[in-house]
C-alpha cells in the first residue's frame, strides 16, 4: 500500500530534486547571450552600433576593454579610425578586429576591412588603426572585435 502511495501520490524526493535542477538549467539557457558591447558602445539596435566597438566573442568581455574610438580624415581623403584596446588580464591575449565604414545614409561604402590580429601584452593598452579605401566621405564606423 505504501509503495503504491509512493508511485501514485506526490513526487518522490529524487523527482523533486531532478525537477529543480531541470528548472535551473532551463532558466540558465534563457539568459541573454550574444555580442557584448564594449565600453562606450550603445546596446541594442543596428543603428545604435555606430562609432562604437562590439566584442563579438562574449568571453572577451572579461578581460578586453575598448577605451575609446574616433575617426579622422587622412591627407589623401580616406577615413582613419583609431581605437584603444586594453588587456586587463595578467596574461598575453590575442584579438582580431575589423572596421565597417558607412556614409551619411548609413550605407556601407566598401567591404569591411580584413580581420587583423593584434597581440596584447599583459595589463597593457594598444592603439589600433584602420583606414578606409575609398575617398567617398565616411560618416560613421563600426568596429568588431573577436
Amino acid at each position: 500500500m505504501s509503495s503504491t502511495a509512493d508511485r501514485t501520490g506526490g513526487p518522490t524526493l529524487t523527482a523533486r530534486v531532478l525537477g529543480v535542477v531541470l528548472c535551473g538549467l532551463s532558466l540558465a539557457a534563457c539568459a541573454p547571450r550574444g555580442p557584448i558591447p564594449a565600453a562606450g558602445a550603445e546596446e541594442g539596435t543596428e543603428a545604435g552600433r555606430r562609432n562604437a566597438a562590439v566584442l563579438i566573442a562574449p568571453d572577451l568581455a572579461d578581460f578586453i576593454l575598448v577605451e575609446r574610438s574616433g575617426m579622422q580624415n587622412t591627407a589623401a581623403g580616406t577615413a582613419l579610425v583609431s581605437f584603444v584596446v586594453q588587456n586587463a588580464s595578467g596574461e598575453p591575449q590575442q584579438v582580431e578586429s575589423r572596421v565597417h565604414f558607412f556614409d551619411a545614409d548609413d550605407n556601407e561604402v566598401e567591404s569591411p576591412s580584413a580581420w587583423q590580429r593584434t597581440h596584447l601584452s599583459p595589463n597593457s593598452f594598444a592603439t589600433l588603426v584602420e583606414r578606409s579605401m575609398t575617398a567617398q566621405p565616411v560618416a560613421s564606423y563600426f568596429i568588431e572585435i573577436r
Binding site: T74, A75, A76, G77, T78, L80, E110, S113, A114, W115, Q116, R117, E130, R131, S132, M133, T134, A135
Partner: protein
C-alpha cells in the same frame, strides 16, 4: 548433424570464409586511416582553416594585402596627386626569400586588383607584363594589317611613375626534441620613383606562428 554434413560437402566454403575475413581486415585497415571520411567544405579565405601550418596562408594573404592597400591609398603622394600617378604593381621586383613556399604573383596580383578596384582614378595602373602584346598590336595597326580600333592611335605607350618592389623573408627556429617549429614572416613593400629611385612609400607587415608543422604547402 545434417547441416554439418552439408557444410562438409562444399569444398568452396573455407576459401570463401578466408576471402571474407581478408576483405573485413582490409576494410578495417582503410577505416583506421580515414576514420569518418573528410567532407570537402568551402572555407573563408580570410580566417584560419582546417589545414593550418606555420607557413604563409590564405588568411595572411588576405590580411596583408588589405592592410597594404589601405595604407597606400592613405598616402597623399600616391593617391592625392594633382595628376594620377601611373604605377606598375607586379612581382618583377618582389622577391620571396622566405622558407615558405609562396608564389609572389599571388600577393602582387591581389594588391593590384584591390588597388585598382578601390582607387577610382586616383592611380593609373600600367600592365607592363602585357607590353609585348601591346607592341604586337601597335605593329599590326601601323602596318595597316588592322585598322586603328575605336580609340585611335597614340604616339607612345604609357610610361610609369612608380613601381612596386619588396621582399618576403622569414626567420625559422626548430626545437629538435619536440619538432616544434616557429616561423616569423616579414613582408616589406615599397613604391619607388622610376625617374629618381626615391622610395615614396613603404609598408611593413609581420606575423609569427609556431606549431608542430605537418602541413605540405604546394
Amino acid at each position: 548433424m545434417v547441416g554439418t554434413a552439408r557444410a562438409g560437402n562444399r569444398p568452396g566454403a573455407p576459401a570463401a570464409a578466408w576471402l571474407l575475413l581478408g576483405a573485413m581486415l582490409a576494410g578495417c585497415a582503410a577505416h583506421g586511416r580515414n576514420a569518418d571520411g573528410q567532407r570537402v567544405v568551402y572555407e573563408d579565405p580570410g580566417t584560419v582553416g582546417r589545414v593550418a601550418g606555420v607557413g604563409f596562408e590564405s588568411q595572411d594573404l588576405v590580411s596583408v594585402t588589405d592592410r597594404m592597400v589601405r595604407d597606400m591609398l592613405a598616402n597623399p603622394a600616391l593617391s592625392a596627386a594633382a595628376a594620377p600617378p601611373r604605377v606598375i604593381v607586379d612581382s618583377q621586383y618582389f622577391r620571396n626569400e622566405s622558407s615558405s613556399r609562396v608564389n609572389p604573383d599571388l600577393i602582387t596580383d591581389r594588391l593590384r586588383a584591390l588597388l585598382n578596384q578601390s582607387a577610382h582614378g586616383r592611380l593609373m595602373f600600367i600592365g607592363r607584363e602585357y607590353a609585348q602584346a601591346v607592341t604586337d598590336e601597335r605593329m599590326l595597326k601601323r602596318t595597316s594589317v588592322t585598322d586603328d580600333g575605336a580609340n585611335g592611335r597614340v604616339a607612345r605607350m604609357a610610361g610609369a611613375d612608380y613601381r612596386l618592389g619588396g621582399r618576403l623573408a622569414s626567420l625559422d627556429a626548430v626545437q629538435g626534441s619536440s619538432g616544434l617549429t616557429a616561423r616569423h614572416h616579414q613582408l616589406i613593400f615599397e613604391m619607388f620613383d622610376l625617374e629618381t629611385g626615391v622610395i615614396v612609400w613603404t609598408g611593413m607587415y609581420e606575423f609569427k606562428k609556431s606549431g608542430q608543422d605537418d602541413v605540405i604547402y604546394r
